[in-house]
Amino acid sequence: MTSPTERRGRWSDDDVDQLLGNLLRIGVIVATIVGVIGGTLYIAHHGLERVDLRVFRGEPVELRHVGSIARGALTLHADAIIQLGLVLLIATPVARVAMSLVAFVLQRDRVYIVVTSIVLALLLFSLAGGIPG
């Protein structure tokens, strides 16, 4: 919330809040739907197999990166479809920060354009795989 004096340009902070709220909701809903579709397929294929996550082996390489996850999902691999849902979920707060940046640009708020750009850069750096190791 802000005082009226903080309103600049065509976008008020209130409008931005509304939009961000909707964005977060849509992100969570879409991620859930994709995840449930993948999960149903996965259980249909592997439901009676044994699960063992006691020893850490790490996920296969094709489930570790956005590009290969998307390719796997397009070829209807159930585990990749679930992973795509999870990636969409992880991307939701990132999209929220990106939209905040657009809002600050429209409000011509220089300080927060810089602040938000730093946060967005850090998030994209992480999504790109971050520091290896």
Binding site: M1, T2, S3, V16, D17, L20, G21, L24, R25, V28, T32, G35, V36, G38, G39, Y42, I43, H46, G47, L48, E49, R50, V51, L53, R54, F56, G58, E59, P60, V61, R64, H65, D79, A80, I82, Q83, G85, L86, V87, L89, I90, A91, T92, P93, V94, R96, V97, S100, V111, Y112, V115, V119, L122, L123, F125, S126, G129, G130, I131, G133
Partner: protein, 278 residues
Amino acid sequence: MSLLLFTALVAGGSFSAGLLGALTGLGGGIVIVPMLTLLFGVDLRYAIGASLVSVIATSSGAAAAYVKEGYTNVRVGMLLEIATTLGALGGAYLAGRIGTNVIAIIFGVVLLYSAYRSTKPLAEHVSTENADPLAIKLRLNSTYPTPNGLESYAVQAVPAGFGLMAVAGVLSGLLGIGSGALKVLAMDQLMHLPFKVSTTTSNFMIGVTAAASAGIYLARGYVDPALALPVMLGVLAGALTGARVLAGANTKVLRRIFAGVVVVLASEMLYKGFRGGV
């Protein structure tokens, strides 16, 4: 255990964690990792990966409702997110470098602290006088709706709050939790934000902080789809249910019970960490 049974049990356990977390205000994320490692025998790294994903879901799900109420201070949130995302990247990096037994010990200590915090409510400090010139420069001061209409508040101790948030970020990236307790502490006690503002702003930041380490976890293969999906759906459904029934619940008794559960889990994590069985 078959995948079908495992999925059902994990989803049920996560639902209860999310429900209790929402009802007590402690957040469900904090008990997910001990539940998965101690009850289901899941490796700590898979548990942390799944927990972190669920943190993003609950934070985004709840924030969608919160931002519309107009308590969130987006500027404070965005500024502090520099600290939490940097911290989270550092924490996720550390998670790959230090032994799982050390992580288990740190986890135990954080659980104990959260249990203690939940039984000792903090006092609200709201100031209207500007003590921190940075708060004015960065236009952090704002207003929030109260029964008496809009009231203004002045943000204090910006550098100290920023520092504590970096620590919260490290813990989030290292342990796969939201670190809500520490975030609220920084914002209530150091920066003097009103409760309603600090709770919603902290929730708003938790998803962003978790997303910062989630990318790294994904690249390292910590995010197992068959585990993370039922955990995420369970916690989310539990948290949303909890938020609905919150009005009629006797939270004081629940808080004590949940704090008790957390203390037991903390002791187990510490025991396993020191014995080296994680």
